[in-house]
């Protein structure tokens, strides 16, 4: 219990550290620390899938994206103290706090609900095709939510790709880029800096290990904590690491990348709609096929999610350089 108290206070301290830092770099570091503490919190809440996702995505990938963005931002303008804004913020925050306190108080006084989702899930999980609760909920009982979620991810990457540079520039650039170009660099390093040899050897060691771990996490999601989202995050991490080691991964927006980005939603929709041709409902798996279809959908989702998260990092807008890549 005392560990929980200290961890909770640590979360608040890290969050306050994000806001009270003068430099943006300090804020980002505090934010990554907050993410790691939050991953520990999910473990204490007995949610290992959430801990995996928070550590990989919330702390890892978001940290990389934020640090990369810091290289593009100029020095921010001096913060002026605005009394009206502080007053408004205090009023809104106090209102929100009062509302939340009232909700908590009321919740504690309500009688126990008549339904119990834990028991309902445990009773029905054998019909779902997998034996891990979260995978069953994500890809069977509430698969509609997951379908909409991956559609949201696809919308995000479509917007991200459309903002990378003008169409004329991108057409000229995609034609001109040659195969195996190893002098690509990120936004924060000048063009003549190559990745140090130590980083390259670490990347050569870690990327295959990450890919194997991703496939394992995907496969293990049926029976223990894991699944498509964590595996996709690991693939994105492998891609980001490769990119930081100056290996050219997915930097050309060609048909292969577009296929990879969309195949998750496409296969999911296909599996969702095809039962309707044989008389079943939308998203109803035919009996006996649930386990196989879930693995198929998860595999395609892993590829898509990994490529989406990776592309959001690689194709973020950078400063234009002569002959530079995006």
């Amino acid at each position: 219990m005392w560990f929980d108290v200290i961890l909770g206070i640590g979360l608040i301290v890290a969050a306050v550290g994000v806001f009270r830092s003068d430099e943006l770099f300090r804020s980002v570091v505090f934010f990554v620390t907050f993410g790691i503490l939050l991953a520990l919190t999910w473990l204490r809440l007995q949610a290992p899938d959430l801990a995996l996702a928070e550590a990989a995505i919330g702390a890892g990938l978001t940290g990389v994206l934020l640090l990369d963005t810091l290289g593009v931002l100029k020095r921010p303008a001096a913060v002026k103290f605005n009394l009206a804004k502080h007053a408004l913020a205090t009023i809104v925050a106090l209102g929100a706090a009062a509302g939340l306190a009232w909700s908590f108080w009321t919740l504690l006084q309500l009688p126990a609900p008549t339904y119990n989702l834990v028991e309902t899930l445990a009773a029905n999980i054998d019909d779902s095709g997998v034996s891990h609760g979260i995978t069953a909920v994500l890809l069977n009982f509430r698969s509609y939510d997951t379908l909409l979620e991956v559609a949201v991810l696809l919308v995000a990457i479509v917007i991200g790709l459309s903002l990378r540079q003008s169409l004329r520039q991108s057409l000229r650039h995609d034609d001109a880029q040659s195969d195996g170009d190893e002098t690509v660099t990120g936004a924060t390093t000048s063009p003549e800096q190559q990745a140090p040899a130590l980083l390259k050897s670490l990347v050569h060691l870690l990327v295959p290990l990450l890919l194997i771990t991703a496939i394992f996490v995907l496969w293990a999601g049926s029976t223990r904590p894991g699944g498509a989202f964590q595996a996709g995050a690991l693939i994105a991490a492998a891609g980001v690491l490769a990119r930081l080691g100056n290996i050219d991964i997915a930097s050309r927006v060609n048909l292969l990348l577009r296929t990879g980005l969309t195949i998750g939603v496409f296969i999911f929709l296909l599996v969702a709609v095809s039962p309707m041709l044989t008389g079943y409902a939308f998203l109803a798996y035919p009996p006996g096929w649930a386990g196989v279809l879930i693995i198929l959908i998860e595999l395609m989702l892993t590829i898509s999610i990994g490529l989406i998260l990776l592309s959001l990092f690689i194709h973020a807008p950078r400063e234009k350089r002569n002959g530079g890549s995006s």
Binding site: L73, P76, P317
Partner: protein, 99 residues
């Protein structure tokens, strides 16, 4: 008006922490001037909401897969939205905007 304090286990504590995080981050979201800080505050508001969801659902019956699955969805969508917000921020800054 009886209040059962046996309900105060660690899950409920984390739900309270989530509420505090939400309020603090809401204040910082309105007050912060650099856009990146507003984005971080928004993220922390989201994390507070996730903690409340899972904490309040689990303090009576123990670990529950349904809110955990919804929060997993939420974490992934939050990172995609953050990445998109960073893309917009970069485009804004590279086109000459401030912050």
């Amino acid at each position: 008006m009886s209040l059962s304090f046996e309900a105060f286990n660690s899950d409920f504590w984390y739900a309270c922490i989530g509420a505090v995080l939400f309020v603090v981050a809401l204040y910082a979201f309105i007050v912060s001037q650099p856009l990146l800080k507003k984005l971080l505050a928004f993220n922390i508001m989201g994390s507070g909401v996730f903690l409340m969801m899972v904490g309040l659902a689990q303090y009576q019956h123990g670990p529950d897969s349904v809110p955990q699955a919804l929060v997993l969805t939420g974490i992934v969508v939050a990172v995609a939205a953050t990445a998109l917000a960073l893309v917009l921020l970069r485009k804004w800054v590279l086109s000459g905007g401030q912050a």
